[in-house]
Symmetry: C2
Subunit: 287 residues, 2 copies
């Protein structure tokens, strides 16, 4: 496999996701947060090329690669954490793409990559988490954000896959790791199915809305609570029921403004959209 | 020099330029043309990474690299020509960056790269031009777009630098080649000078407006005439005289809408902005 091609698919996936608008509650081409802007996401996506290219060549080292991606992203922009959640999905997917003889084996290879993670991967994942300064409250049983956890991981010999297994009940990213990247591949199919009729921007927006409507976003659950996340999903569902993209565009826009005002950002949904875009581009989607 | 770092600076320069808004008359994050969209520019910028990386390692072959960049851009998007003019500036600048022992010698090295171009470079430049399907009327004395020109170039032994010399009186890109990338480095200084106060988007927009106000855009001259290009420059100048960015933002926006309606796109100005952004990023500008 052409490792440069794979790395560019990862870059473009991150760039197309952050560009898509209106993408309720998240940073997009029309919306910045106070300290983090659209351009920080663009610079981060461009900057991590060599880590993605290295991942496409790597047989192991998920934790190191996530750690290096966070560090490299930070060298290219001063907006803080941009792609931590996305890296958790992209790194194993990119490694899987590098192992593929053809474009159909991606899912099986991705499952292998995550299952083969080690205790060292878990330790480096935690280091990366601490350095990325992810703005979420601690949720994990191992208390994400507490350096004490690294000792626990080592003492108990916990692999990164195991950490994801104990989090998968309430964390969308962890669930992707443990259920064979189910939603990622569903998103990829949805984007590919919509791109001809809707174009790339609206294909991403509609898939984002569908994903949000059928899954409580982890980022919202962590920042607020499960009830809030459920309420947001219901609101997304109701909008989608009202009609086609052209009929609901203004409603999505109002939903976006409302979420931004409330500080509700469905960040985990965005991460899965990035993963879905990567799969689509890797499989040859062009526009 | 780190050739991957140089290639990523080129990618990010193209991405930041097309994202900056409101950028009068051109495609930006808020404006598409009928067949070419914002996302086509993003995909093109991402796609050409390996050619830029190769350029950073190359001592010669400007024509081949331009030809390869156009071909690679076309593999990643279906929006037609996106970055032909930008490649004409970026390829020699990226090659120069690859030759630099330190970040201060870029200008001198860039002058050397263009002066060393060959007849073969001229031939491949013409092939790239024909394949890029650049939407301009033929302007060059050698009749750009006419395949007969390739025979003329070979028969007369004309180098690519020589072709630029005979075009530099009416072509901004050719002028950059022959005057030591003067405006490119002025743009770089302007963007770096404005970024702290204005942020990256507005630093690019203001520099674009300044460049447009003081130079007749080649793309406009070719599509319309010299008088039209001069009129556009005057309009840009008058807006800039009215005050600071926050006071003139709405006027720039109206100017943008008006140019888009008239089909006036200052494409050559955008190309020089990309070159200026590349120089700034290569020299370490971050935000």
């Amino acid at each position: 496999m052409d490792t440069s091609h794979i790395a560019r698919c990862a870059q473009l996936a991150m760039i197309l996701e952050v560009s898509a608008t209106p993408k309720p509650g998240n940073i997009d081409r029309d919306h910045n947060y106070t300290d983090t802007s659209f351009e920080h996401f663009l610079a981060s996506a461009v900057g991590v090329y060599p880590i993605m290219e290295k991942a496409a060549r790597s047989k192991s080292g998920v934790g190191t690669l996530i750690h290096e991606a966070v560090a490299e992203s930070g060298k290219w922009q001063k907006g803080g954490n941009t792609h931590f959640g996305a890296f958790l999905l992209l790194i194993p997917l990119v490694m899987a793409a590098g192992r593929c003889e053809n474009k159909t084996c991606l899912k099986a290879q991705a499952q292998r990559v995550v299952r083969e993670t080690s205790v060292e991967d878990a330790v480096l994942f935690y280091k990366a988490f601490l350095e990325a300064k992810v703005k979420v409250k601690p949720v994990n049983k191992l208390d994400l954000g507490d350096t004490g956890s690294i000792d626990k991981i080592k003492a108990q010999g916990l692999t990164l896959y195991y950490l994801m297994e104990i989090s998968c009940g309430y964390d969308m990213i962890a669930e992707e790791w443990t259920n064979g990247f189910k939603r990622t591949f569903e998103c990829a199919a949805s984007i590919q199915g919509k791109i001809k009729k809707h174009g790339i921007n609206d294909a991403v927006v509609l898939t984002f809305m569908e994903l949000l409507s059928s899954n409580k976003d982890t980022f919202i659950q962590t920042k607020f609570d499960s009830k809030k996340a459920e309420e947001i999903s219901m609101r997304a569902k109701k909008i989608l029921q009202k009609g086609d993209m052209d009929e609901i565009r203004e409603e999505i826009r109002s939903f976006d403004e409302s979420l931004l005002k409330e500080g509700v950002n469905p960040g985990s949904t965005a991460d899965i959209i990035i993963a879905g875009l990567f799969v689509s581009l890797f499989k040859g989607m062009r526009f």
